[in-house]
Amino acid sequence: MNPEKALMTDESDAPEMLVPSEPHPQTRIDVSAVAAMAGQRAATETVFECGDINVYYGDFLALRDVTLDIAAHEVTAFIGPSGCGKTTFLRCFNRMNDLIEGARVDGAIHYHGVNLYQDEVDPVEVRRRVGMVFQKPNPFPKSIYDNIAYGPRLAGVKRSALDDVVEGSLTRAALWDEVKDRLKTSAYGLSGGQQQRLCIARAIAVQPDVVLMDEPCSALDPIATGRIEELIAELKTEYTIIIVTHNMQQAARISDMTAFFSVQANERGHRTGELVEYAPTSLIFTNPDDPRTEAYITGRVG
């Protein structure tokens, strides 16, 4: 298989392009590293392979030895009690932890065969492929239109094509009908649930390969949550989705795979998270392997 091809979303599987004339910006990720990896890579639809990930904040180990694979076009949920490192782990997939002073990631995450944590990799290029939706809706203090157009503009999408990108993204995020008459008004005029869908639309406007979602519904009411969940179910046909959630029912409803993380405190009170169990969602909620998983999902701890 052409190693360079491995860096891109496979065209045949790619979502119907929003901007036909604009190819996805080409990667500058080191090709020789890919060549080395290409031989080992199985022909499965694996997006991420994580090996022995340890994350430190300063001297303090926040997450220990996580190894798991993420499959394409599935929803993978990370669940677990507060402080178990699930958000920390999520932020490893687009190198968002680089932004946190003192954070360090040990180990390798291979994204379509390329180790994201080698020197040559520019986190900016990674984030154009691996988008993110945050816990609290965080639209820019700009118009609805400019919020969506922000990423595509950075990627060099032509002005003439922007209108289509904005409409396409908002439509996919099930927000178009609600906002089409007020695209030029401030995004802050939207409700919380609308703002979060706007943030999802903004994330998919750059045509990512993967969308990371960090508790996207935790600030929303049940109705808004329901709409986001429906949206996630639709989006997974086009994108690979990794979602962190506090809500076990949500994980059960929307995910294909579930990873349960737990947390252990050492003698000095430092809490370190670890992966307890990773299995198909149907299995983990009906027949968990680990007693800690069972205790958590049945509500006896956490």
């Binding site: 687009n94 968002m96 932004l99 002073e101 900016v124 290029e125 984030r127 154009r128 988008g131 993110m132 945050f134 609290k136 965080n138 639209p139 820019f140 203090p141 700009k142 922000y150 990423g151 950075l154 990627a155 802050y188 943030c199 903004r202 994330a203 750059v206």
Partner: protein, 310 residues
């Protein structure tokens, strides 16, 4: 052991007369201190306003548009001083806004926390350089060592050097206010931008700066007020003295509203030609006061209009 409350009377719960008098006295002392500041402000305004009124009611209106500012000859051309003041303040802003905003962006977006911890106080220390020192710096360094290399025709006292020196004075002020405004922008917005594949410089310019716009405007307005009110640097570096001829050249000396006031306040050993000369000091004071007041009010309106709700 619980208190014995069996024979509690109102006398036990009453404060002594001395303590009550002490409390009331303290209250009045504090009120008086507060009142004193109000009183002083009122006195200043009254003095300036009444002096200015004396000038306005007696001056021949024609003498307000003349060839220059020669108060002892009865020539009170306001445009001379206004133009010089504005020219110098604008030069100062051209110097201070880019470097002040640049420093603010560096401190808020790029600097390692350790660096910021040292650099911000250092920057604010620069604000405590006495303005007279900067005035001397302008005539002893800025003009002879820098400007005269580029502009051979430049006067020893000139508005350009004065403007640059005032700009240096205003940089820390603008940088400090701007940095506070930038730091107030939530991290969530920076993360949203980074998450979309924006580089740091893009995030700073396209997200953080616009989000902090009201605070940045405030920094500019405060800086401009400071620049237009600056006296000592201008008096020394621009060589305003007590007289100046109308001119637009930045290479020439020229008095400003403030330096003309300083010169009038210092007085002169020459025989006064016009009795109105001294009164014009109050008039200029009132004018300056009005300008900064209008600036601040306009600033308030702009800041409120740009107020972000992030």
């Amino acid at each position: 052991m619980p208190q014995d409350t069996s024979d509690l009377s109102v006398a036990d719960l009453r404060t002594s007369a001395r303590r009550r008098a002490w409390s009331a006295g303290a209250r009045w002392a504090f009120a008086l201190a507060a009142l004193a500041t109000v009183l002083v402000s009122a006195l200043i305004i009254w003095t300036v306003a009444s002096g200015a009124w004396t000038f306005i009611s007696q001056v021949a209106w024609g003498s307000l548009t003349e060839i220059g500012w020669f108060p002892r000859r009865g020539l009170f051309d306001l445009s001379t001083l206004l133009v010089n003041s504005v020219q110098i303040a604008v030069i100062a802003m051209l110097v201070a806004v880019p470097s002040g905003f640049g420093a603010a962006i560096y401190l808020s977006e790029y600097a390692h926390p350790g660096v910021r911890k040292v650099m911000k106080p250092t920057l604010e220390l620069l604000a405590s350089v006495p303005s007279v020192v900067l005035g001397v710096f302008a005539i002893s360094f800025i003009t002879p060592s820098i400007l005269s290399n580029f502009f051979s025709e430049i006067n020893f006292f000139n508005k350009l050097a004065a403007g640059i020196a005032v700009g240096l004075l205003v940089i820390p002020l603008i940088a400090s206010i701007a940095e506070d405004a930038l730091r107030a922008v939530p991290v969530a917005l920076r993360e949203a931008s980074s998450g979309l594949g924006a580089r740091k410089v893009t995030t700073s310019v396209r997200v953080v700066l616009p989000a902090a716009m009201s605070g940045l405007m405030a920094a500019v307005i405060v800086g401009f007020s400071r620049a237009i009110g600056e006296t000592m640097v201008v008096t020394i570096a621009s060589g305003g003295g007590d007289t100046s001829l109308f001119n637009l050249s930045l290479f020439e000396s020229g008095g400003t509203l403030t330096s003309a006031m300083a010169a009038l306040g210092l007085g002169t050993d020459q025989v006064a030609g016009s009795t109105l000369a001294f009164q014009s000091l109050y008039f200029l004071g009132a004018l300056l006061f009005a300008i900064t007041l209008v600036l601040n009010m306009a600033g308030d309106v702009i800041v409120r209009r740009l107020q972000n709700r992030y």
